[in-house]
């Protein structure tokens, strides 16, 4: 077989594969874009969810050509170059079969461009999304405007939130075996087993735990932050739709981990205001017995058996100690 002939054959194979690849990839991407993409989790209930859904879809649209490229190649090889198929030419060894500089360099260049693009894209999405709803630790570097002020104010008894004021709502999520409870510092620091949120509002979740590591996962809000004992883990989102959402623990936290879930609700700002003030008043007597609102709670010295909040005498709270030197500016 002459070299020219074999070169011709080579382009023939590659061209055929490329054609199949392009057709299938475009078809898969179009089908996905119009048929599946709008339904991809986590949905559109918050700005964060919408942004993360977009991120998800970009990855899917890039993944299909990669998957299809390899599968088309493998399928083509299986069909055309099987020893059982009649007329398969004897393979050629030698230097040409041992490597091809052009193929190797372009493979490395293309994969590098793809992954560097994805890393850059993910980073931009992470920063623009104020942490994309993920736990950012006690001192978030990427935060929405006004959240530092609201967070600092939350530690004082004068903190407040009113509808239409564009203020950030601070919600503390407390994980313990095996439930989540929520404190609202802007409403007197009452603690509720229900997570109710106002619509069109920037929320700052401050997630902590009283015992082991849990993970606060509000699926439809696209918020996930581990609840670590004696650590504050902040995550932001902005609600955009009314409706119910699911909260599940997504870090193994002991035998009843599987039943550590509840449901939350996004309601209108005025309905939220009504609920919060009513609950604050109804819970006032209980709230007095709770430790003062703080980012973390040190279990009582005798609390190892589960007796947190035994008599209200928790370890004295210091802002600097628990929040670090890098407190949000007031």
């Amino acid at each position: 077989m002459s070299t020219e002939n074999s070169m011709k054959k080579e382009t023939h194979h590659l061209r055929r594969m490329a054609t199949i690849w392009v057709i299938l990839s475009v078809a898969a991407d179009l089908l996905f874009m119009f048929w599946v993409a709008p339904h991809v989790p986590p949905g559109t209930m918050t700005d964060t969810a919408r942004a993360n859904q977009f991120d998800f879809n970009v990855l899917f649209l890039m993944a299909f050509p990669v998957l299809i490229g390899v599968w088309v190649y493998m399928g083509y090889a299986i069909v055309n170059w099987s020893a059982k198929r009649a007329g398969v030419p004897e393979p050629v060894g030698g230097p040409a079969a041992r490597g091809n500089l052009k193929a190797q360099v372009s493979w490395i260049v293309v994969t590098s461009i793809v992954v560097l693009f994805l890393a850059g894209f993910g980073t931009v999405a992470l920063i623009n999304g104020n942490g994309s709803g993920g736990g950012e630790g006690p001192n978030p570097v990427w935060m929405p405007a006004g959240s530092a002020k609201a967070e600092t104010a939350a530690l004082t008894s004068s903190a407040s939130w009113t509808p239409g004021s564009n203020q950030v709502l601070v919600v503390q999520v407390i994980g313990q075996q095996w439930k989540f409870t929520y404190r609202y510092p802007q409403f007197g620091g009452f603690e509720s087993p229900q997570l109710i949120l106002p619509n069109n509002t920037e929320i700052a979740f401050n997630v902590t735990s009283l015992d082991v590591i849990h993970s606060f996962w509000a699926y439809q809000l696209s918020v996930k932050a581990d609840a670590n004992p004696q650590q504050n883990n902040v995550a932001y989102t902005k609600t955009a739709q009314l409706g119910n959402f699911t909260v599940r623990c997504s870090e193994l936290c002991g035998i009843w981990h599987g039943s550590m879930y509840n449901y939350g609700k996004v309601v209108s700002q005025s309905n939220f205001q009504n609920w919060a003030t009513t609950t604050e008043a109804a819970n006032a007597a209980n709230t007095k017995n709770l430790p003062p609102f703080a980012w973390t709670y040190v279990p009582d010295a005798n609390g190892a058996a589960g007796g947190y909040y035994i008599d209200g005498n928790v370890t004295p709270y210091s802002q600097v100690e628990t929040y670090g030197a890098k407190q949000p500016a007031s």
Binding site: L59, W71, N100, G135, K224, S250
Partner: protein, 654 residues
């Protein structure tokens, strides 16, 4: 570079006499029940366990986990410690070092012939390799049974089969035993057996350490399951503190189990690394080293460098639970983040400890069944080294939502994306090798091709996980569960099967039955995908890992996955049946080189002589000169037999 084909004289002179075993013939040489073997190891292990338990109660009886229950973490720790020491004493692993310690001439290890050498502290790497095959299959079948139990519970969205305590115990044991198995499944059986044969060595660099790594690996199995009488441990295989600190004495089995397995991993790692670096035959230059050996070298480096972190982390945990230290207790100055950091600092290299040998096997057998040279050999080797290096810089992608170093997330996102470049080289190599080949679809080749299918899905979903905004949804759910089953089971386990079907004829002299093999392959491939692909969707729809209750609308998908999983379990029984049938019931004698391989391991006599090569071979070229007319033979075996040259024949082997 060319190496003279002339045989160095000193090699020729020393090649007839086997390497000298040091030591005198003593009581270890007694036949039968009088010497040391598995039986004495079990007896002394039990004696040690009981003694340690008694001792622990004597020392720390006041610290009972539950009053008057006999449940005491310290007692459990001492029991396991003395149990393992007794086990090692019983098998004879300590004879040599202890004798040396006291300046005495050590007894020679037993040189038993026949089947009983498989139950003893035998120094032949081929015996250790076969011992490992049985060992990892034991791990795998136990872990697989536990997986069946998990899927049985998940048939129903509420708890129906096990209580939540039992369920979490099963989940934790499944994860831990499978992870331990996966670290050794290729390095142990195939690495130990074939690395010396492939580099032209007569033995491992440290045969005693090699035997030690196997026997302590088996002890790890017993240690992990010693948690069962204590109700297991509730932490999954990740063992996060403070749940770890809060757990009962069963937790000690997990912590000490990882320390024990860790010792075996470190020992196996540096033994293999030293062997590959120092024991290569003349002419086996780095550019001729088989790609499987490169992968094992990269893995060995990871085993040696990453495992000490796990070992230390485990000991800290044991101290927290017994001596009341506070490494991981935040109330007393420790940090739960410390465990997460240490565990994943080991845990991510660990992932590549599992992936790399799989790539090695596939790249090794592709040329044999495509009758073509390996494409881009140097890219493949450098990719493996690149993966090994980068794997130390990605661990915090497991902790994106934990609040740990949140400002570093872009960096770990970048390193994680970057590692997919060298990982992707395996696809370049595979696709290049397949190009215009003449593919023989033998069973090993089918499993190798399946790796490309499965690992592609595993790899692409890994990129999803590395993207922080997407990670918010998929972290800690069934999506990530499915992802790592696609990489480890779909990659590593398929590669292990490819390697087993490929090399068992050389190891045992018997062919695996092809018809049963086909049934095994297709059922395993189909039901693996049917089991785990729905789990991506289950995860996307919001089901977290390790739960026994889930949303009612996910029952259909979960049931589908469960039923597929049971059928996947049957596929493993089929494999077991094939193994029994082909090896014992109706063995068919294997030809000396059934796949027409050029690999050095196939050129030595069959069955393999005790010292592998009658004469140390002089390697002339790399073993991938398929379809090359006039290529030099792979090695001069020095036996006077005509050297094996490449054939251009594409015809299927008989």
């Amino acid at each position: 570079m060319t190496i003279s084909a002339e045989r160095p004289t000193e090699v020729a002179a020393s090649s007839v006499t086997p390497p000298v075993q040091s030591g005198r013939v003593g009581w270890t040489q007694r036949p039968g029940w009088m010497s040391q073997h598995l039986g004495t190891a079990i007896v002394l292990g039990i004696v040690g366990y009981l003694f340690g338990h008694w001792l622990g109660h004597e020392i720390t009886g006041d610290y009972a986990y539950i009053q008057n229950s006999g449940q005491n973490s310290s007692a459990n720790f001492f029991a396991l410690l003395f149990g393992v020491v007794g086990w090692l004493l019983g098998i004879g692993a300590l004879n040599y070092p202890v004798a040396k310690l006291f300046g005495r001439e050590p007894n020679q290890e037993p040189t038993v012939e026949g089947w009983s050498k498989y139950f003893r502290y035998t120094l032949d790497h081929k015996v250790v390799g076969l011992q490992y095959v049985v060992g990892v299959l034991l791990f795998m079948f136990t872990g697989g049974l536990l997986a069946m139990a998990i899927r049985a519970e998940l048939l129903n969205p509420t708890t129906h089969l096990f209580g939540p305590g039992t369920y979490i115990e099963i989940v934790s044991e499944h994860g831990t035993i499978m992870m331990m198995m996966a670290t050794s499944i290729i390095v142990g059986p195939l690495g130990n057996y074939f690395v010396p044969l492939m580099i032209g060595s007569r033995k491992m660099a440290f045969p005693r350490i090699e035997a030690f790594s196997f026997w302590i690996f088996v002890a790890g199995y017993a240690v992990i399951f010693s948690a069962l009488p204590y109700g297991g441990f509730p932490t999954g295989w990740t063992g996060y503190a403070p749940l770890q600190t809060q757990a009962g004495p069963g937790m000690i089995s997990y912590l000490f189990g990882f320390a024990v397995i860790g010792m075996g991993m470190m020992a196996a790692g540096f033994n293999i690394a030293v062997t590959i670096i120092n024991n290569r035959a003349p002419g086996m230059t780095w550019s001729r080293v088989p790609i499987f050996v490169w992968s094992i070298l990269a893995t060995a480096a990871l085993l040696t460098l990453a495992t000490p972190t796990l070992f230390a982390a485990g000991l800290f945990g044991i101290l927290d639970k017994t001596a009341q230290t506070a490494f991981y207790v935040s109330e007393h100055g420790g940090s739960s983040y410390l465990w997460e950091n240490l565990f994943w600092f080991f845990g991510h290299p660990e992932v590549y400890i599992m992936a790399l040998p799989g790539f090695g096997i596939v790249a090794e057998i592709l040329p044999v069944f495509t009758r073509k040279p390996l494409f881009a050999y140097k890219v493949a080797a450098s990719g493996m080294i690149g993966v090994a290096l980068l794997s130390f810089f990605v661990w915090q992608h497991h902790l994106f939502q934990s609040g740990i170093n949140p400002d570093m997330r872009p960096l770990f996102m970048l390193t994680t994306e970057l590692i997919s470049i060298p990982t992707g080289f395996i696809f370049l190599v595979g696709m290049g090798t397949l190009y215009r080949a003449k593919i023989r679809f033998e069973i090993p080749m089918l499993f190798a091709m399946a790796l490309f299918f499965n690992f592609l899905i595993g790899g692409v979903t890994g990129v999803f996980l590395s993207d922080v905004p997407v990670n918010v949804t998929v972290h800690g759910g069934f999506f990530v569960l499915s992802h790592f089953h696609y990489t480890i089971m779909g990659g590593l386990l398929f590669a292990f099967m490819a390697g087993l079907y490929y090399w068992l004829p050389k190891m045992t002299g018997r062919m695996m039955n092809k018809k049963l093999g086909l049934w095994h392959f297709w059922t395993m491939f189909i039901f693996f995908n049917l089991t785990f692909f729905p789990m991506f969707i289950i995860g996307l729809l919001g089901q977290p890992r390790r739960v026994f209750t889930y949303a009612k609308n996910l029952q259909g998908l979960n049931d589908f996955s469960s039923i597929s999983a049971f059928l996947l379990g049957l596929s493993f029984l089929l494999f077991f049946a094939n193994l029994m049938y082909s090896m014992y019931i109706k063995p068919v004698k294997a030809p000396a080189n059934p796949w027409d391989s050029l690999g050095l391991e196939w050129q030595t006599a069959s069955p393999i002589p005790e010292y592998n090569f009658e004469r140390i071979p002089v390697v002339m070229t790399d073993p991938y000169h398929y379809s090359e007319v006039g290529a030099p033979p792979v090695a001069d075996m020095g036996t006077g037999a005509p050297p094996v040259v490449s054939t251009t024949s594409g015809s299927s082997p008989a």
